[in-house]
Symmetry: C2
Subunit: 136 residues, 2 copies
């Protein structure tokens, strides 16, 4: 029983938006869907799986470029998976980089939040602090 989904059904069942799915088609992450006589897109379970793959990879913060690469790799069962490892590895490094940065931000913002004891701008330590060139 191949029940085919309209774009709206696919969207709902994967928690994506229809516009996004169309965007993925234009961006060549999804291949062009088959159409009804009236031009509506119809999707198979396979295509749904592919969209889930994309979604999952996106949730890991991977760029569409990376996702495209992974999809290409996933299609070739015999290829070595070094490249897959590398993509994940690079992404992990990026995430750790951003974590480091965000943790610094958090500290600085926290410090700023605590330091405001004025009630007028003239006494506001936050404005004061932003006005000077700074060390952390």
């Amino acid at each position: 029983m191949e029940s085919r989904l309209t774009i709206g059904q696919l969207a709902k069942s994967t928690e994506t938006k229809a516009v996004t799915i169309r965007y993925y088609e234009r961006a060549r992450l999804m291949s062009p869907a088959t159409r009804t006589a009236g031009g509506y897109r119809l999707y198979t379970a396979r295509e749904r799986d592919r969209l889930i793959f994309i979604k999952h990879a996106r949730q890991l913060g991977l760029s569409l470029e990376d996702v495209k690469a992974l999809l290409g790799l996933a299609d070739d069962e015999e290829a070595p998976c070094d490249r897959v490892d590398e993509i994940i590895h690079v992404q992990l490094a990026r995430v750790r980089e951003r974590l480091k940065h965000l943790r610094q931000l958090e500290q600085e913002l926290d410090r700023l939040e605590r330091c405001c004891h004025g009630d007028k701008i003239a006494d506001c330590q936050i404005i004061e602090s932003l006005s000077r060139a700074h060390g952390p």
Copy 2:
């Protein structure tokens, strides 16, 4: 001794780029600079301070919109600084939100990185894992 800076000198002395400074002018964060007869922008120390303020606020991850608001507030010495506090507070909350998210990403990517023991795509646990709908 009012030594005025060209845009390039201002850029260098604040570690910004000239294009960015022009962009800030168009975006109304910097007011239009005075010009030489030939049309070159010239900046005063005051304007340099303003740019440093912007830069610092941007480094805290604030949007240009927020920075614009802060600049407006900073100009009114008598105004109460509740709004300043709020901007910083909201930003801190955003940063903490993103930290939470990134920490989850880190875990998931780390798990993926460890789990790949195949050498062909067919056995690759990463691809495998991306293919299914997931819980963390």
